[in-house]
C-alpha cells in the first residue's frame, strides 16, 4: 500500500501555507515584514507558493535602518520586481528627522530599538491589520511563547501573560479598530529546517550568507563588518577575513563567522555542526536575560 505521510519539511511547509492563507482570508490589509534575511525570504517564498498562480496578494514592508548591507538592498529590489508585488519602505532616518525617534548615543548605540517606532508608524499609516513575520520559536526564549496569530493592542504592544489560547489549527484574528496582529507562519521551524528548506527548494538568498573575503573587526566574540558606520575602538584593527553571516540585520550589529562554506550544501553541513545559536552573534540580544521579551512587548518584530 502507498504510504500517506509527509516529511517534516513538507508538513512545516503545508502548515505555513495554511497560516498565510488564513491571514489573507481573515484580514483586510495584510503585509509581509521583509528584512532581507533568510527567514523573511522563506516566508515570501511560502507566500508565493500559497497563492500561485496568482501573485502574492499583499505588499512587503521593509524597515530600513539606513545602515544596510548594499547586497541586501539589491536583493530586495530584484525580488520585489520578480514577484510583481508592492514594496513599502519605512525609514528609521525619516523617523529620526521627524523627531519621532531619538538616535542612541554611546559606544553600544544602534538603531535596532528605533525600528520599533518606524515599524509601528508604518503599520499605522498604511492601515496594516496583519503583519506577517519570519520569527521562529527556536530563536529565543521569549519567542518560544509566541502564538501563530499574536494580538497587538492599539499601541502595538504585546502582552505575553494575556495571550489568546490557540488550539488545533483554528486561528482567531478578531480585533478592535486600531489593533493589529503579528503572524508567524514559520514559528515551528528551526534554523536547520530553514537551511534544509532553502537547499531543497533552491531559494535565492543574498550573497552575504556565503563565504566571502571581507574587512571586519573582532568585537564581542564576533566579526563585525567594516562599514562607514563602524568606529574602531582602542586596540582594534581591521582584518581581511574569509567569512559569512548566519543572520542578516542592521550592518552595525550583525556579526559574521569565519567560514569557508560557499555553497548551500556546505552551509547546511556547517550549521548542523555548529555549537552556538545564530543570535549568539547579535549584540542586541546580549543586553539582558529578557531583552527580547522587553522589546517584543513594545512592538518589536
Amino acid at each position: 500500500m502507498h504510504k500517506y505521510y509527509l516529511t517534516h519539511l513538507q508538513e512545516l511547509e503545508s502548515e505555513a501555507i495554511y497560516i498565510i492563507r488564513e491571514v489573507v482570508a481573515q484580514f483586510d490589509r495584510p503585509a509581509i515584514l521583509f528584512s532581507g534575511g533568510k527567514d523573511s525570504i522563506v516566508v515570501t517564498h511560502l507566500a508565493k507558493k500559497a497563492f500561485w498562480p496568482a501573485k502574492i496578494p499583499m505588499p512587503l514592508i521593509h524597515i530600513d535602518t539606513g545602515h544596510n548591507f548594499p547586497e541586501t538592498m539589491e536583493f530586495r529590489d530584484k525580488l520585489v520586481e520578480n514577484l510583481g508585488v508592492q514594496l513599502i519602505v519605512g525609514s528609521v532616518q525619516e523617523s529620526i528627522d521627524k523627531g519621532r525617534a531619538v538616535e542612541e548615543s554611546g559606544i553600544n548605540a544602534s538603531r535596532n530599538e528605533l525600528q520599533i517606532v518606524t515599524l509601528l508608524d508604518s503599520i499605522e499609516s498604511h492601515k496594516i491589520d496583519a503583519a506577517i513575520g519570519g520569527a521562529r520559536r527556536d530563536e529565543e526564549k521569549a519567542r518560544a511563547k509566541e502564538r501563530f496569530f499574536s494580538h497587538r493592542d492599539e499601541f502595538g504592544q504585546w502582552d505575553p501573560k494575556n495571550q489568546r489560547p490557540e488550539l488545533w489549527n483554528i486561528f482567531n484574528g478578531r480585533k478592535r479598530m486600531g489593533e493589529h496582529f503579528r503572524v508567524f507562519p514559520i514559528s515551528n521551524w528551526t534554523e536547520m529546517d530553514i537551511w534544509n528548506y532553502i537547499l531543497q527548494e533552491n531559494i535565492a538568498i543574498p550573497s552575504l550568507y556565503f563565504a566571502h573575503q571581507r574587512d571586519a573587526v573582532y568585537r564581542d566574540n564576533t566579526w563585525l563588518p567594516a562599514s562607514e558606520f563602524l568606529q574602531l575602538r582602542e586596540g582594534e584593527t581591521i582584518e581581511n577575513k574569509l567569512m559569512r553571516f548566519r543572520t542578516l540585520g542592521d550592518i552595525t550589529i550583525t556579526g559574521g563567522i569565519e567560514s569557508d562554506a560557499d555553497t548551500l550544501e556546505k552551509i547546511v553541513a556547517e550549521v548542523s555542526a555548529t555549537r552556538s545559536t545564530e543570535r549568539g552573534n547579535r549584540s542586541d540580544d546580549k543586553r539582558s536575560d529578557t531583552s527580547m521579551e522587553d522589546r517584543k512587548k513594545q512592538g518589536y518584530f
Binding site: K3, Y4, Y5, L6, T7, H8, L9, Q10, E11, L12, E13, S14, E15, Y18, R21, E22, A25, K48, K49, A50, F51, W52, P53, A54, R137, D138, K141, A142, A144, K145, P160, K161, Q163, R164, P165, E166, L167, W168, N169, I170, N172, R174, K175, R176, S187, N188, T190, M192, D193, N196, Q200, V268, S272, T274, R275, S276, T277, G280, T290, E293
Partner: protein, 426 residues
C-alpha cells in the same frame, strides 16, 4: 544516540512528531526536557552558558535545565511554567515539537492547548509519590483530546535504588486508573531525568528493564496511521483567481486537506450547499498532483462553475460529515469570567464561522475523577462542560473521535474578541 544526533541531513525521510508533557510540580518535567535537548545536542553552547550563569546568580549548586524552557520574566522569577512553551529538537530519524505545559489545575486550559495538536503525551510520575491527582488530570485531558499515544515516565528511579518493585507498583496503579480512559497505546519507561537513565541512553542501573529508552520510543513509535485517511474533507480557506491573461478562467479553491484522499476525477459535494461537481485538478506551486491527503495544502479546481467560498467544505460522496444548527460539544472554558447569560459567540470550526448561543449545559466533568456533575452547571475557567449550541447557520462537522480537525471548535466572545472556549463535537 551518537554524537551526531543533531545532523539532520536525511531530511527526505524525517517525520514530524508533536508531543506534550505535563506532570505535577517537581516531578522533573523541565529536567527531562532539558536532558532530551541536551543529549540530542539541541542546546547550543551559548544557551548553556546563559543557563549556567542564571543558575549561579540564583545560587544553585547544579545547572538548572528548567531555565532553558521557562522563558518569560514572570516564569523565571517564580520558577514555574505558566504558559505553553514550544521546544524543538531533532535526531536523524525525526523532528520533534514539544508543547511543554504547566500541570496545575488553574492551567488546565494550557494543557488542553498543548494537547490539541499532539500525537503523543508524556506523563511524568515521581516514583516515590506514585499516581497523583495531576497524573489523572493530564491523562484525562489526553484522552478527551484523543491523543493516540501516552508514555508514562516513571521518574527519579535513582532515589529508590532503581528498584523494579517500586516501578511495578506505579505501573499497577496507573493501569488500574487507565481502565477509565480511552487511550489505546500506553507504555511505561522507568527513568532518572537527572542522571539520564533511559532518557536517551539505555540504563545500566536497571538491567531488569527490557524495554527501550524514551528517545528510542519517540523515534520509532508508529504515527503515520494516526491521520484519518478514509473520510475525505477539504475546508475551503480562500479562492485563488489570478488577474493574468494566461490564467483568465482559473478558479482554485485553496485549503489544507483535513482527512481522506482526493484525486482528479473524484465526484465531490460542497457543503452545506449540497452542490456537486467533479475534481478537475489538484494544484500546487510545484505542479499538479495525482492525489492529495491530510495535511497537504493544495488548490482544487472543479469541472463546473459552482458557488464555492471560504467556510464551505468539499467532501466525497462515500462518507459525508454532519450538517446541523444544533450541536453537542464538550468544551473547556478558557476565559476568566464565565459565560454571560444570553451571550452570543462566534463559533469557529475549520474555516467556517457562525454565530452561536449556549442553549443548554448538560453537565460538568470533574477532571480529576471523570464524574459527571449535573447539579452545579455555572461554568468557570478551566472547567470541562458538555453543552448544546444553537447556531444561526448550519455547521459542517465530524465527531471529534473521527477527525480532530473537522471535529474541533472554538468560541470567540462577540464583545471582547477573546477565545473563551475550545471544544470537541460529540
Amino acid at each position: 544516540m551518537g554524537p551526531n544526533a543533531r545532523s539532520e541531513k536525511h531530511t527526505t525521510t524525517m517525520e514530524l512528531l508533536r508531543f506534550t508533557t505535563a506532570g505535577s510540580v517537581d516531578d522533573g518535567k523541565s529536567t527531562l526536557i532539558g536532558r532530551l535537548l541536551y543529549d540530542s545536542k539541541s542546546i547550543f553552547e551559548d544557551q548553556m552558558e546563559a543557563v549556567k550563569q542564571s543558575s549561579e546568580r540564583k545560587g544553585l549548586q547544579h545547572v538548572d535545565l528548567s531555565l532553558l524552557t521557562d522563558g518569560l520574566r514572570s516564569e523565571r522569577e517564580q520558577g514555574i511554567t505558566i504558559d505553553v512553551a514550544y521546544r524543538y529538537f531533532a535526531t536523524p530519524k525525526r523532528k520533534f515539537i514539544i508543547a511543554d505545559t504547566p500541570g496545575h489545575i488553574q492551567y488546565t486550559r494550557n494543557m488542553v492547548t498543548g494537547a490539541s495538536t499532539a500525537n503523543l503525551a508524556l506523563v511524568l510520575i515521581d516514583v516515590r509519590k506514585g499516581v497523583v491527582e495531576q497524573t489523572c488530570r493530564h491523562s484525562f485531558i489526553a484522552s478527551l483530546l484523543k491523543i493516540p499515544h501516552i508514555i508514562v515516565c516513571v521518574n527519579k528511579m535513582d532515589l529508590v535504588d532503581y528498584s523494579e518493585e517500586a516501578f511495578n507498583k506505579v505501573v499497577e496503579q496507573y493501569e488500574a486508573f487507565a481502565a477509565k480512559i480511552d487511550v489505546k497505546d500506553i507504555r511505561f519507561v522507568p527513568m532518572s531525568a537527572l542522571a539520564g537513565d533511559n532518557v536517551v541512553n539505555d540504563s545500566e542501573n536497571m538491567p531488569w528493564y527490557k524495554g527501550e529508552s524514551l528517545l528510542h520510543t519517540l523515534e520509532t513509535i508508529h504515527i503515520a496511521s494516526d491521520e484519518n485517511h478514509s473520510d475525505a474533507r477539504f475546508p475551503v480557506q480562500t479562492v485563488i483567481r489570478p488577474h493574468a491573461d494566461e490564467y483568465h478562467d482559473y478558479r482554485g479553491y485553496a485549503g489544507r486537506i483535513a482527512g481522506g484522499i482526493f484525486k482528479p476525477g473524484d465526484k465531490i459535494t460542497v457543503l452545506p450547499s449540497g452542490l456537486t461537481s467533479v475534481i478537475k485538478s489538484i494544484d500546487t506551486y510545484s505542479g499538479p498532483v495525482e492525489e492529495a491527503f491530510a495535511p497537504m495544502s493544495v488548490s482544487i479546481t472543479l469541472e463546473d462553475d459552482i458557488d464555492v467560498s471560504r467556510g464551505d467544505m468539499i467532501v466525497k460522496d462515500d462518507s459525508e460529515p454532519q450538517v446541523s444548527q444544533d450541536l453537542d460539544a464538550m468544551i473547556c472554558w478558557m476565559a476568566t469570567r464565565g459565560p454571560r447569560p444570553g451571550a452570543k459567540y462566534h463559533l469557529k470550526t475549520t474555516t467556517r464561522e457562525v454565530m452561536s448561543i449556549i442553549k443548554e449545559v448538560y453537565y460538568k466533568l470533574d477532571i480529576n475523577t471523570l464524574e459527571k456533575q449535573e447539579e452545579n452547571t455555572d461554568i468557570k475557567m478551566n472547567e470541562m462542560v458538555k453543552i448544546r449550541l444553537r447556531t444561526t447557520q448550519p455547521v459542517v462537522f465530524d465527531e471529534y473521535r473521527k477527525n480532530r480537525i473537522t471535529g474541533s471548535l472554538i468560541l470567540v466572545d462577540e464583545s471582547t474578541n477573546e477565545t473563551v472556549a475550545a471544544g470537541t463535537f460529540l
